[in-house]
């Protein structure tokens, strides 16, 4: 047994299904716990994200992502349908915890490398991991309000990030972050929008 590594949280193979309840509140008013659409997915759901055009939903499970087609612009709104399942190349050494969309198709996953405790972002489209250049713990990843850029928060600040390709010989790409704003205390929810050419939150 590797002493420095951590025993992972392993996905079970017995039948456990995660249920997702979806309601476009502008189209249908349904009080919780009822929902307009309920879909049962293969595994326990850890996090969920909706794309900019409100046409796709991505759910994060232990080692996979399920992308659903859920278009609320058509009338009547039809049941969500599983479009594809993406297997994440995370082995026992990495644990994924959050997922978000940027624009309509770009998916990003926030994961942690267990042994070192380093938070990383995985770009699903390009299948590449990115770790920050300086030690930084990431509390959340989310897009700006117009889904133009990706932002991260840690306990007291929010920054916009750029993900650079991994250079020759390196396993991970770099995550360049540019601080937008710092807060005096930790925040649980931040939105970033472009206002008159400047970003504010």
């Amino acid at each position: 047994m590797d002493v420095s590594g951590i025993c992972p949280i392993v996905e079970q193979t017995n039948s456990r299904i995660g249920k997702l309840k979806l309601t476009p509140l502008r189209r249908a008013s349904l009080p919780p716990p009822m929902a307009l659409h309920e879909i049962e997915l293969a595994r326990n759901i850890k996090d969920v994200a909706i794309n900019f055009a409100n046409t796709r939903i991505a759910t994060l499970h232990e080692t996979t992502i399920t992308v659903l087609i859920y278009d609320v612009k058509v009338s009547p709104v039809i049941d969500p349908v599983v479009e594809r399942t993406i297997a994440l190349p995370i082995s026992n050494t990495v644990i994924a915890r959050q997922i978000c969309f940027r624009s309509d198709v770009d998916l990003f996953v926030l994961a942690m490398h267990l042994a070192s405790g380093v938070d990383m972002i995985y770009d699903v489209q390009k299948s590449s991991f990115h770790s920050p250049s300086a030690t930084m713990s990431i509390f959340g990843i989310f897009p700006t309000l117009d889904h133009d850029a990706l932002c991260v928060t840690n306990s007291t600040a929010v920054s916009r990030v750029n993900l650079l390709e991994p250079t020759e010989g390196k396993q991970y790409g770099t995550l360049m972050s540019k601080n937008i704003c710092s807060f005096p205390t930790s925040t649980s929810w931040v939105e970033v929008l472009n206002y008159a050419g400047q970003v504010s939150s």
Binding site: S15, G18, L25, R26, N54, F139
Partner: protein
């Protein structure tokens, strides 16, 4: 409509040569105090402090001492309660053999580091500190309840008697006598509506671990004690802070030892295990049932995985953590419906015979520490000179911070349809296999 999002996760191993038995948060230094031992091969108890913020820091050994059980009919002593007082850096342990031990992190001159401050001769079955840390309540093997101050002076003592059951407010009789009721065809429509269809007698669950549990209400005014009466039924007694019996629960078939009083005070959560399902049931302070939800486990899961279940509310009463063998489930309530928000699965490669240890942070409502215990039983070396077989227990410590947020679609026109996604994990129940 909110989901629990994983904001922060740190994980590390805790190696020791003794089994992990109890844990408590130290809010001042943001670390966990863990108690290890005793085991058959080494009758020693160790107390270690592990930092959560710095996962690369080694655990610090606070104290270690021999712990031979003073009672002859108990094979091994057991740590029933561990509580850490952050402001004075003192830990208090209550052992099954009856000893109450105080371990001081920084003893003043004249004070000892490890001190046995008291002893209950009869032996202890459960102990719990009040939320304000002023009172310690201990149940003994002689079926008595002792109230002590923070300086371990006796305040009150009551006996838990079988006759207490008459205080129960449940109704099991109707207006008429059963001999005069019509029992022919179509009697269902004509039956006396004041007689309940079936009344639970309180038969014990076959998986009952026979433990006593105590849970305080969040304001410290009342406490609930769950015991087995005469090996026949489980009863939850509610006592006031002064030691007077307030009420007794109604009989419930399959009631188990898990007990957690919601800090906001309106519900006492317990567990009911029936043949075909496992329910989390709620009682009010007067002992009557008030709602329940099903744990949604498959039949196989029930037999294989769930031989011991623990319940624990978080400090602001928003999340109920259910600790089963191999997994911790987090349930939240919305509009009287319970959602399974997160299901944290533990490693299957560990020889897990007991549920993970849970510790909600006493001040931050969305912070939890989960310890997967390694419970393999190492063989006692036949030849005492052979020390090459090392008994190592490897426990995994996971600390999570959540945020309770809404997963919503875009809020800018023209895409603002207000789409909300709500997670409600569902175990598939397969009654026909």
């Amino acid at each position: 409509m909110r989901n629990l999002k994983y904001v922060q996760h740190s994980a590390r191993y805790l190696h020791s040569d003794l089994p992990l038995v109890a844990t408590a948060w130290d809010v001042v230094t943001d670390s966990l105090v863990c108690a290890f031992g005793p085991s058959k091969s080494k009758e020693v108890i160790q107390l270690k402090k592990t930092s959560i913020a710095n996962s690369h820091e080694e655990s610090i050994l606070i104290a270690s001492w021999d712990a031979k059980c003073p009672l002859s009919d108990l094979e091994l002593d057991d740590v029933l309660n561990l509580h850490h007082f952050g402001h004075s850096d003192t830990s208090c342990l209550v052992l099954a053999g009856g000893d109450i031990i105080v371990v001081r992190g920084q003893p003043l001159p004249g004070e000892e580091k490890i001190e046995i401050v008291g002893s209950v001769d009869a032996g202890v079955t459960a102990a719990a500190w009040s939320p304000d840390e002023e009172l310690l309540v201990v149940t003994t093997r002689a079926n008595t309840l002792l109230f002590m101050t923070a300086d371990f002076e006796n305040l009150a003592s009551t006996s838990m008697l079988v006759e207490d059951a008459v205080l129960s407010k449940h109704v099991n009789v109707g207006w008429g006598k059963s001999e005069t009721q019509f029992k022919g065809k179509r009697s269902r429509a004509l039956r006396d509506p004041t007689i309940p269809e079936n009344v639970d007698e309180g038969t014990l669950s076959s998986y009952d671990c026979k433990q006593v549990t105590i849970s305080w209400r969040g304001d410290g005014a009342f406490l609930a004690v769950n015991t087995i009466e005469e090996a026949a039924r489980r009863m939850i007694r509610v006592y006031s802070r002064e030691g007077s019996l307030d009420s007794v629960s109604e009989p419930v078939d399959g009631l188990e030892s898990a007990l957690s009083w919601r800090p906001s005070g309106n519900l006492i959560a317990g567990l009911q295990r029936l043949e075909e399902q496992v329910n989390v049931i709620f009682f009010e302070r007067n002992g009557l049932r008030h709602g329940q939800f099903e744990l949604r486990l498959s039949a196989d899961d029930q037999k294989q995985w769930v031989s011991a279940i623990d319940l624990c509310w978080n400090i602001d009463s928003s999340i109920l953590a259910v600790s089963l063998q191999g997994t911790v489930q987090l349930w939240t309530m919305g509009n009287y419906h319970y959602y399974l928000k997160q299901d944290i699965r533990c490693s299957s490669s560990m020889h897990n015979l007991c549920p993970p240890l849970l510790a909600w942070h006493p001040e931050k409502p969305l912070r939890i520490a989960i310890l997967e215990r390694d419970t393999h039983q190492p063989e006692r070396p036949e030849d005492s000179s052979d020390r090459s077989v090392a008994n190592t227990y490897t426990n995994a410590l996971h600390s999570f911070l959540f945020s309770n947020v809404v997963a919503a679609g875009s809020t800018t026109a023209p895409n603002n349809f207000g789409t909300i996604a709500v997670i409600d994990g569902c175990e598939w129940h397969l009654p026909y296999r």
